[in-house]
Symmetry: C2
Subunit: 226 residues, 2 copies
DNA sequence: ACTCCGATTTAGAGTCGTCTAACCCTAAAT
DNA sequence: ATTTAGGGTTAGACGACTCTAAATCGGAGT
């Protein structure tokens, strides 16, 4: 299937918006994400539907077909492998890799993908802790993490994933010891969603406004599970 | 200057066709190289002229302006750095790098270019022996090599550059010991252009039909110059 | 100088992805 | 059941890049 970069972008965005809900994805959500107008999205959705890549109900939004999901997973795999490679081998900081991976994700060959995966020894998460789809493009299983917002004062948690792309925010988080793998003690969850926590990394407390905290996904430490 | 990938491709091709001649580059040469029709080239040349990137005389072909050349050099630098990086760090063979570099050359950031150049320690040639323009994008000085066709029986020469992109031909050449750096003894130059030589690498003789030999650029060994 | 042929340009049209403006549908509130 | 607010779709257009067909240029050879 020969797809344009643009079509791939639409599929990727639909895939990502679909993560964590069963809702159909709406035209305006896609438009916001891709920074185009709604009519533009509508006309592209028609094409994607013609190609059998999405399932569309007019006025009610879309979902990916299996085929569409496979394409999306391929792009996501490219993106996350690139992020991992750039941090591992080209000295990029995790705050910088997203844009570069976005540039390149549509333009690498199967061969390149494979060599990069080899060089990294088939990693299963990218530098932000997001799962990298495997080479067979099966949907990766949903990590059992929750937004840090779900927790409360006194909880001890481990950062699993920081699902944000803004370099400024990522730099801020890294500076304050919020990265995948670090342990956080929740100090306060304000009613308007701001979370304050202490990182065992920086040993300083850090406050995360709601829109940031939302992207910080954490799990209870392993020793507390059973 | 915001240029499309397509425009960059035109400039790159014009640059490469311009190497080694003072002739203006003709519409049909560009059309052949890019695999588009002549009218398509004509209309793109109008746009490039409007942008001040080429100097055009209708019916007589084009040359790059300084600005156009700078853009072309940027793309060539990207291409050749990528080729070098892929062979050096991702285990590519010199016969495989061209297509991958073509895919990526328009899509890497300045930052990426710089990091790759650093990782390679600012190389000055790519795996085919072609000069990599420096970061200031000054035109690299013309290497003092000639096509192997220019030599005659008995000459000993060193391969400087193999300016071909066909993976089959490059594999063939590598298999027969024709790569940058190896010494060749010319055994015969047939009237129809075929060159037969012995490589001190493979210690076998190899015959190069004219269109291949044309791309094998060599120099007399250093110890013979003064 | 003239003719002719190959190369170039002009003319006109098609595709892709985008836009704005106008119209329409759905769901929530009355 | 009706209204209405807000998002979705339709219609029509545009810019970028490409094509085919037709007209035109210019150099090579008389």
């Amino acid at each position: 299937m020969m797809l344009s970069d643009v079509m791939e972008d639409y599929l990727k965005v639909i895939y990502q918006l679909q993560q964590g809900t069963d809702d159909r994805i709406k035209t305006s959500e896609i438009a916001d994400e891709l920074d185009v107008t709604s009519p533009t999205v509508t006309s592209m959705l028609e094409k994607l539907e013609d190609r059998g890549l999405i399932d569309r109900e007019k006025y009610r939004g879309v979902t990916l077909t299996d085929e569409g999901e496979t394409v999306a997973l391929e792009i996501v795999r490219h993106h996350r492998l690139l992020e991992a490679y750039l941090t591992e081998h080209l000295d990029y900081d995790w705050s910088e890799v997203h844009d570069e991976a976005d540039r390149l994700e549509h333009h690498i060959s199967e061969d390149f993908e494979e060599r990069v995966a080899d060089a990294l020894d088939e990693p299963d998460v990218d530098p932000h802790g997001s799962p990298i789809p495997n080479a067979d493009l099966e949907p990766p299983e949903r990590p059992d993490s929750d937004s840090v917002i779900e927790f409360e004062e006194g909880d001890a948690v481990v950062v699993e994933e920081v699902a944000d792309h803004d370099p400024e925010i990522l730099s801020y988080l890294a500076d304050h010891g919020v990265e995948p793998g670090v342990e956080l003690e929740i100090l306060e969850v304000a009613p308007f969603g701001m979370v304050t926590a202490r990182s065992n990394e920086s040993d300083r407390s850090v406050s995360l406004p709601e829109h940031v905290a939302h992207h910080v996904r954490v799990a209870r430490p392993a020793e507390l599970e059973q």
